[in-house]
Symmetry: C2
Subunit: 213 residues, 2 copies
């Protein structure tokens, strides 16, 4: 991995990433020099230039501590790691008029996840829902779990979706029965199979987070 970088360049890049994670901000050139014992910041500038040329770094000229580590999504394309961490609002239950008032007053707090952790990049339409009841126990989704959902996504058969039933959101499995989209509960205690056209699908489940202890 990262075979196109020299030993030294990799060390510098690692330090920058490490510094960012432990200090909340990228290091200055002098701090890098100090770390490696360079007596001149020019050495650092050289390495940064190489890292920039090779596509691992970005920075804004003449701006203090403006280093940004880029991550490779595939071999060619590069994208900044900027929104590394996204705050996903957690709702106890989703109110009826949802689409407009996303974000803001996520009274239950936020889950912060980085883009890498979830396969899907969280967008402004991503939200989390604390699971209530055991309607999805058949899919091993328990009460108290946090369901991470994406609003406005096209559900595919088998996907878990959040639907608004009786002004409360419930998780169901999205299926197709004879060509018609339906919602299936994963617990015999709950009514099965509800035609999906008649209700609002609020989001498709993309991840689950469960806390122990």
């Amino acid at each position: 991995m990262k075979s196109d970088l020299t030993q030294r360049q990799q060390e510098v890049l690692s330090f920058i990433i490490r510094h960012q994670q432990t200090n909340g901000a990228p290091p200055s050139q002098r701090e890098v020099a100090l770390e490696f014992g360079f007596r001149s910041t020019t050495a650092v500038a050289d390495h940064l230039r190489a890292l920039r040329r090779k596509g691992y770094l970005d920075h804004r000229p003449h701006q203090a501590r403006s280093l940004r580590v880029l991550s490779r999504t595939d071999s060619t394309e590069l994208s900044p790691t900027r929104p590394m961490i996204v705050d996903i609002p957690v709702f106890g239950c989703i109110p009826a008029g949802f689409a407009d008032e996303r974000r803001q007053d996520a009274s239950e707090g936020c889950i912060s996840v980085d883009v890498e952790t979830l396969g899907v990049k969280p967008t402004a339409r991503t939200f989390a829902l604390e699971v209530r009841g055991d309607s999805m126990i058949g899919r091993h989704i328990m009460e108290g779990d946090y369901a991470v959902l994406e609003h406005g996504m096209d559900p595919r058969p088998g996907d878990v979706v959040a639907a608004l039933i009786d002004n409360e959101s419930t998780l169901k499995t999205f299926v197709k029965q004879g060509g018609k989209p339906c919602l299936k509960a994963e617990n015999p205690k709950y009514p099965n199979l509800i035609p999906a056209q008649e209700l609002v699908i609020q989001g498709v489940m993309v991840a689950l987070i469960r806390k122990y202890r």
Copy 2:
């Protein structure tokens, strides 16, 4: 929430957090001034001083872009948000000689989670394990899930733990049977009840992350 802050102070704090998340580094005083249309950086400095005094911010004097947002753990104590995001190494399976060589070459990648998301603060002893098999299906832990574990934690009865059996780690439930610690599988297909003294407990499960799609 945050009723001890004025409207303006809250706005400034929000901008700093937002800037940090979208740009990877906190803003300079001038950037804050620009955002709010202040014609003097003194206004910003005033707000920062107030936020610092009230315990919401920290910074290193005379250092560019050194603002750090603090989070309240309880009403009195303050702790820096520095290691907001911690990289938890993911192992496919944990090798026998574990304790020493934590971190490094987490070949399967990393899960980044913030301190708030998991109730437990991730330490250097926190690691993740991709769940193989269905030995814990009774606790609704599925194949492919990521179990987040804490090494060196004292297991309590009922906790899910990772144990090294036949040089491979397996998840089990930690129980006490007649005063003796035992490990219980949560699937009838697997051998039940193994005395816990005879094997290495590698970690106690603190969270679970599951990805869909």
